[in-house]
Amino acid sequence: MSGRWLAGKVAAALVTLLFVIIFNFFLFRVMGDPTTQLARLPNSSPEEIEKLRADYGLDKPITGQFADYMGDTLTFDLGISQRSREPVWEEIKDALPWTLLLVGTGTLLATVLGAWLGVFAATRRGKKADTRSLNFSLFTYSAPEYWIGIILILVLAVWIPVFPAGQQVTPGVEFSSWWAEALDVAEHMVLPVAAMTLMLLGQYFLIMRSSMVDVLTEDFITVKRATGLPWYRVVRKHAVPNALLPLVTLSAIYFGAVVGGAITIETIFSWPGLGELSFEAINDKDFPVLQGTFLIFSVGVIFANLIADCLYFVLDPRVQAK
């Protein structure tokens, strides 16, 4: 019976996904078809535009276009990039792993650090350690992540040239082994991941701290202390597991912000992920690519929510009973 709850969540996610795909279609038709955008670019003659319209099937009635779109999308045909003439899906496939690397590492670090710091502050509530952590987190929470990125570049790549200022590998170098290449990537990862982690740290810290503060006021904590458990064990074994539950769901909700951050951070560091791809697409007015990346971003958020639901299912016995 608990499996049914999970199946329900997966079904809901698929339905949302379907709506996202449909919405995506209409979103890009909001301002007329994409070729009207091209009409604004210099060097496009009316004949070229007409030809493009035919190419893209934009001369068909809207229902026909919609059918085409649905068929195409569900078979992973997301169109052709206007700039590179490559299939959008190929470009996305190339960029996706880099974004996952950046976002995955950043989220992991931010969750671990944020949670730890949150527990640290909550157990010292009102004291200086708590106030300082709070102020630090409020600051990183309010600061634009790309600004933090720029400052990181300024300090750690220019003033004190410790880390590379951009890209994922040192260009033009032949690597003797995959290990050497991996190390090079790791070196290039430090600053972007640091920017991403700092951006998320504040949020996760605030959530965890507030969750811990709530849990520490519960009666069962006093009872655990009363049984003679030392305080650090009460915190670690009983307070933290209960406090983690809201953190899981809330961080899934904030995943949309993670995606936004990925875009700006990749742009700053020329990190070849989906964010950088989107940024170039904005500049080139390459709508097929924009539409494709937007779709993938939305899918990512849905997926993150689903993972959070699964995690919650595993962690909270009260949910398993449903």
Partner: protein, 337 residues
């Protein structure tokens, strides 16, 4: 001097405001002491101080001495370190809270919670002995073995309260402090839990401190009763004596509000006014602003708790009271003796 637990001049303050302001209490082995009073009078705080479980914002002072039965050495609770207290907690003194809704860890199985408490104080039990103990404890409170594998949310309110009691008995303490153990339960379950506590007490020779604002509950289960008001004890004595011959106006007003079967019918009159703010207690007797019998002396002098009848003490200038003059509902009347 063989009292099981002796509290002497206990004071607890928050930011300089006294919440418990000089409390003296004794409880003998196997005795049931009731602690009564309105919410906020300091009952729970007193209970938590005995186990040194107050939050760090509260400062505790005074002497608390515990003499475990069976010839163990005397324990000076006030002077113990935190680590020292961890040895005393649950092993000698344990706790039952009200509304076991949140008194159990929601993500831990119930049996595991009992096992955890036992293992803190008895390291050498192997897992078989441990699960036998748990089954035994559960059956003592009337629960089947299968309950151990359940989570708290899978049990009913009454079952959870029983688990709390089983948990409290897990290490064979000599004193159990029950803070409003029946408040969140319906009348039927209330009776069952009280009966359970009583039978366990007899069987195991437990001492019990029962805290409740419900005097009916205390009347049933306790040998002696102490009434608290504004952080102080205002009356103590054997339960029958206190109920039959109250020696403090506050006790009188509390009991007056209790409908007695066979007594007069009428609308209970609540005590007008509200308890004093801990930061600004009234001059003189703390109760005088709400006392219908207050006189000049009461406004100036703070009465001490003193013995006014065999085994019974009161903190009222005019105790011992032989009878209680009738009181106009809204106005304090003059005192007649």
């Amino acid at each position: 001097m063989s009292a099981l637990l002796e509290i002497s001049d206990l004071r607890v303050e928050h930011d300089g405001n006294p919440i418990v302001d000089g409390v003296d209490l004794r409880i003998e082995a196997g005795e049931a002491l009731g602690l009564a009073g309105e919410s906020g009078c300091g009952k729970t705080t007193t209970a938590l101080s005995v186990m040194r479980l107050l939050p760090p914002t509260l400062k505790q002072s005074g002497t608390i001495t515990f003499r475990p039965p069976g010839g163990h050495a005397e324990i000076n609770i006030g002077r113990r370190t935190e680590r020292g207290m961890q040895l005393v907690r649950w092993r000698h003194i344990s706790l039952v809270f009200q509304g076991a809704m949140n008194s159990l860890d929601p993500v831990q199985k119930v049996g595991a919670q009992i096992a955890e408490a036992i293992r803190i104080h008895e390291r050498d039990l192997d897992s078989n002995e441990l699960s036998e103990r748990i089954t035994e404890l559960l059956s003592t409170v009337g629960l089947i073995e299968a309950v151990a594998k359940r989570y708290p949310h899978q049990l009913s309110g009454g079952q959870r309260q029983r688990v709390m009691i089983a948990l409290a008995l897990a290490c064979n303490p000599s004193l159990v402090i029950a803070d409003e153990p029946t408040t969140a339960l319906d009348v039927v379950m209330q009776a069952q839990v009280l009966e359970l506590l009583e039978s366990l007490r007899e069987r195991l020779g437990l001492a019990l401190i029962l805290i409740s604002h419900d005097l009916g509950v205390l009347a049933e289960t306790c040998d002696r009763i102490a009434v608290m008001y504004a952080g102080r004890i205002v009356e103590t004595g054997p339960v029958d004596s206190v109920f039959a011959h109250r020696q403090h106006p506050y006790t009188e007003r509390l009991l007056d509000g209790l409908p007695m079967i066979g007594g007069e019918r009428g609308i209970a009159t609540p005590i007008p006014g509200s308890p004093p703010d801990p930061g600004h207690p009234p001059e003189g007797c703390r109760f005088h602003p709400r006392c219908p019998y207050a006189e000049d002396r009461c406004r100036r002098e703070d009465p001490a708790l003193r013995e006014v009848a065999p085994g019974q003490s009161s903190a009222c200038h005019f105790a011992p009271w032989k009878s209680w003059p009738p009181v106009e509902p809204k106005q304090p009347a003059g005192v007649e003796r």
